[in-house]
Symmetry: D3
Subunit: 316 residues, 6 copies
């Protein structure tokens, strides 16, 4: 095949602090058509219940991603050797209306999903995973989920509302977007409204791995089990940055102590290699609380790692 593949703008062509702030300094594209994977931003934070600010997540993740180079030194993945990737910009959410925003996101992802381009999403708060899954499930049927988070996000309602950043997985399971037998939640912890909060997903057939089961351990074995149990079929990675400990990811809206390490986060994503990953998201980066920019940089790296485990990526 002879098509020209997009490459990140190199640091020897333009200094890393120069050039337009696209994700990884990739070329932009107006649509997903013709792309194998795309980065897309959803600058929404009106689904957040505590600190706001995630609306600036996509902008800040793009800005910090300028440090990323094209090869994954640990896994030898070379995604730009075999995939056509671009940054397709942001979903024009309606920041005054959460319900309308959810509709807009779904429509935007319908268009992506129709092309079979795999979306890697920069959030935004976790509300956005619901319309993304709605769009993807139309193409793929019920999807397997690797869900990294401090919170189960399976509340029935928040403040009486069905749609908010603490409810998307409840809705997604109810709507049949997710196959709960192929769902794993990793890193859950903290304080809860009800003592049984983590049991609902279990009751639906999902696996819940509270953070206490992860302490002091490599998660490579866990991911082997996940790969084995998930088998074939589409898988989506939804990574809430607050799944990691606040020491690793201070810039987020509802931090919980005692979380996963960055290393465990890397193991989880790298452990998805071999699954039929159809997309992923990195949500809940709140730049106003990320004074050094490092939480955004972490997010950019994790999104790059997701790119590296997409089917079809070359390894060197």
């Amino acid at each position: 095949m002879t098509r020209e593949l997009n490459q990140p703008l190199g640091g020897n062509v333009m200094p890393r602090f120069g050039g337009f702030a696209t994700m990884m300094r990739l070329p932009t594209a107006a649509k997903a058509e013709g792309l194998d994977a795309c980065f897309v931003g959803v600058p929404l934070d009106i689904g957040a219940s505590n600190r706001s600010g995630a609306r600036f997540g996509p902008r800040q993740i793009r800005a910090e991603s300028s440090l990323l180079r094209p090869y994954n030194m640990a896994t030898r993945a070379a995604p730009f050797d075999s995939l056509q990737v671009a940054d397709i910009g942001d979903v024009p959410i309606n920041t005054f209306n959460l319900a309308d925003s959810v509709r807009r996101i779904e429509a935007f992802y319908d268009a992506i999903a129709a092309t079979r381009c795999k979306p890697l999403t920069m959030g935004g708060d976790h509300t956005i995973v619901l319309p993304i899954l709605r769009a993807l499930a139309k193409q793929h049927g019920p999807i397997g989920i690797v869900h990294v988070d401090a919170h189960a996000d399976i509340n029935d309602t928040m403040f009486g509302e069905k749609i908010a950043h603490g409810t998307p997985f409840r809705r997604a399971i109810e709507e049949g977007l997710i196959n709960p037998k192929r769902m794993t939640q990793i890193g859950l912890r903290g304080t809860g409204y009800i003592a049984e909060e983590f049991d609902w997903t279990r009751s639906q057939g999902a696996r819940v791995v509270p953070v206490e089961e992860c302490w002091y351990k490599s998660l490579a074995p866990l991911m082997s089990e996940v790969r084995a149990s998930f088998g074939a079929g589409p898988v989506y990675i939804s990574f809430d940055i607050d799944g990691l400990d606040p020491s690793c990811a201070p810039g987020t809206g509802t931090p919980e102590i005692g979380g996963l390490t960055t290393i465990q986060g890397l193991e989880i994503i790298r452990g998805c290699r071999g699954l039929d990953v159809i997309g992923g998201d990195l949500v809940e980066v709140a730049p106003p609380y990320d004074v050094s920019g490092n939480t955004s940089l972490l997010a950019a790296n994790l999104l790059f790692e997701m790119l590296c485990v997409l089917p079809g990526v070359s390894y060197r």
Copy 2:
């Protein structure tokens, strides 16, 4: 009359950095009943079009207000000599739904207005002035407005929505809550969507004072004119902190350069003395962008100045 008047907790009784963070370290009250004036918070920021964060305005203004002492050295106002004042807490807005929040705010202020207690509100974004005016106008009829702001806030819609932080004064005039003949907008400036943006209020009969007319000048003469033209009848002060220059008030969501000075802000509020002020608000403080805390402290001071010009305040 022998009722005991609430006093701010003194710095010789509890150090300024100690004690619960109520506004001015005043006692709290569950309701407005029995109060002449109250401080109330509206922690809403989902009406904001640019930076979020104003949801933390009430909390941060309260925290910084602990430095305030009971007497106004410049004007010799002694509000706690004659008025019963308390902090009645926050309106439980629905952060996932702007329309519902606006309904909740209106209901909350209906209850206040029914008691004739004068509300001094800590925002929150400027959307909140609409439901406040709806409640107050039910009691008072069309209200006069002293509106300090960088923006006219008279857009018909924002992103297609009738309710947002850039539309409240359009709505309020349309609904007859405001008497535009008794309305002055001070400090307008910046860049606009349409070149005629500042003309609409004028066409309704209001006075618009662009910031360029304020540069290098005391605003005491302007306020004499305002007092003369407003005459008797209820007046509400709506003070968007972004009316002031970002050098004075960096911690806000849509800053515009070339603004009013803090001194001019003081002159405007002090110049309302003699009017029948029935309430006021201080909106758009965004604590995540207020790293020193000084914008919140400024806001607390301006709210105290509003208290000092309420009818019935004693002077020493």
Copy 3:
């Protein structure tokens, strides 16, 4: 029993960023009387030898504690099912006079101790543990201590003074407030004035666990030993946030590298379950150095964990 137990204000009643900033958004109480446990602040930082700022610890811990929900998902503790808890405010320390402040703190805790209400204290610098122990020992006799810290705090004097944040445990042992046979210091490290600095407590019979013995390890086994050796009798938990590594707790006054992890901090407190815990403190949070607010949030969580191991707490 039919008394109504205080509950934290729920996030579905008032958004987490709204409402008065009391600890965990609990009701306040004017006194300890009638309470099983209380949160109390001691906003003192004039005992600190390096960075100041801990005077704002109680205020900031309260503000960030608004994210806490009532159930401990890891341990299933439900403290508000069985204990009456309130926030009783701050000790009115004299910020210009350390000796007078120490007297005031002791008197304040005398009143608490007399009621048998268990105080959970938000510091403030570590000086405050001395007057707290003085008050508690009057009721309980010599007390066992679980002391988490980077520093032994057993200097004889600092700058010639007997009272400062580096001396309280020397004084407490000398005064017989502590039973050194039932004392464990965990996390000690760093640079010292004298090479033998950690030996004095050992010479008194206490156990010292330098941080190097904790690296790469769960501290659950250590806590089993502590429980076994302490047996029955009153125990107090004194947790200096600088016991944790600066990566976990950057906002503190005398940080030392190579410290405990947050996870180990949780294991230590959770490992106190079963002991007769009569109170605890969390000291040395310095908000001016806690730019994201996360050190204060960590402190709030650790105080909640202390509440969860008090005798009499229900588990679900």
Copy 4:
């Protein structure tokens, strides 16, 4: 004429915090060809003698410029009604070699100047004005200069080097790029290496307006004089953000107290209307010291004001 003119992406199409961070959210262009004016970044800070960080100026100015709307409410300028404008990206400077960077900048501006497109430059430190003037003077001959700055920038050498951010105007005059009879320096102040530092430009025929002559005054009269004395012929605006007071522009590398106000900065640029402005720059914004982002926002506004005074701009 029927060509379609670029417009900034509107806030009702994409929220202000969304979309790619180009200057004013304008379309990008690969070259200056076909444009009447362009925004261009020069991310260089290795010419700075005190704080570094200006390398991030272009990126941060672009990010904050997203708040700008297309009309100038004060002057009624509507630049996008009549000019074709785009953001052409950054000069790929060599951050390890100042001399090579200066060559690269000159070559880049040679290409712009050849098209007669007017460059509006986001710096970067003030070194960059030298190669810009070299390129422009090739097309225009000796240029008139409105230079706003705290520093004269006419050192012969710094640390023995001829090229650095304190020398460009010395070089430019020596090389005949500037017509010193048509040069005004406004805002000079501070401490100096030699007591005669401000006299050299005067000796060349330029006008120097120390900041003390500006205090308490509108600069509109000064600008009338400037316009009168400059007459016809090309004029370049070089605006060092440190010309303004640190209260207005904290985020810069060599701040000097007692500077111009933002209002005076606006008056200077607006006062250039009528001159044959061929380009301008805004330099020395250092984002690491601009914690609120407001210095970058100020810079974006000032660059927009420069656009508004270009010959050929429509007014409404």
Copy 5:
């Protein structure tokens, strides 16, 4: 005379960000002996009633002072042409004991005063002016005072204490250290404990210039009056950085809105030229609240301006 005069380390010898952080990069000296003027730090903040942090004032002022060059471009003062100046380091205050610190400061300044070297002090909170005046008055008798501040600092007690940062001028007048007929307080404002707070100094014969009398005005005429009324005799300048508006000096402990501008601050100090200035201080810079470092830089500049008005300074 042939003695070699100390010069600040030049920026062409060592870059401004290099070298040891002494005041203005001057040589250090172990004592005042042989010096005409000295910079000295008093790192005390335990007299502060609100935010702490001024203990780091001397260190941070020194660090930021590295930008200062030796000549005053506005006044042409060349202090290092005629005066021997050095940085003599910090007073070793006892941070655990305010009374002892006050004694230590007095003893330290006794030694300075004995040499007739003029001390220019970097605070530290305002408490320190009392022991400084005690030492100076022993040599000079009652001293005239130019006092710039938001607060009168003439409380009788604070929290029952005679010594704190709000009481030094009461004490100094009571003790006869100050000649109140030769005392001017400039910039007073804000809220007060008692409505008569500013009247006490007046009752002693001093002149009080509330900030409202300064708004919109050059203070050069005021300073002419001050010079005329003070006549001959020793004068001390005590400059609390909170005399300036928080927009100019955000990094301070008890900020009050509506303050003096930096320009007015410069006019006050420059207006002391001709008086027999025997020393001065710049107090209440609180670096933890000075995120850009610019408040410290402002303080360094103001101290340099004080140096420039000492008797005996050369002008070029």
Copy 6:
């Protein structure tokens, strides 16, 4: 021997926040002569490819080092019992010219090396290790290297330049300054320009330990191997703070996720005890991104640990 050894200024003589900010509050010295070891700063950041700011590294490390006390509690090292140590200040680099700066650094270290005083260097960006090694190799011949870093720093060129912060170890090996058989690189990771980036050093005979081999493990065993393989002969420690994870060291210019822990950093340096360490550096601290100051404090501690493993240090 009776020479008097320098001691850090004690916290009971001058509070930790007072006194001049020399490294560890040691005396300064004008030269290395007569010293066994010296601290020296190299305030260079023009070799940095991403964020600048490391020019302030020496100043900030010195400021934060004031917390350090003289004894190493973990290892019982007492370096000031047996070594003469001082802070000899900064190399006067030419911040406008990287090549000239490299020459200046080499000359400065030639002078140090000639005295056999062991330099412990505060960077500055990593470019500086090349001229340091050039100077040391002249005295010692090819040197063994313990290199902690996220990056191999063995690029042939960056942006076409042979000298930059990503090339020093390539140059040093090419020039024979290093014996690659006695070289270990620890902590390498991240994204790369070429997939083979880590193989070049291996091809030269060096050992490369990617960070993945370090996860979850004590590095004490690795260091045993290093000591065994290095044997006798000179060893230099070059510690790039970005070798540690950004959670531990946020304040740096090119952070990479998934790095070493602080504990592992301590193990590496402590594991050098017994080797013939002839010097070391700690580079790439970028204070503008180190908002709490804790990265600088970490750096100061690591430099102290290097001092503690120099041959000839006493242990207690």
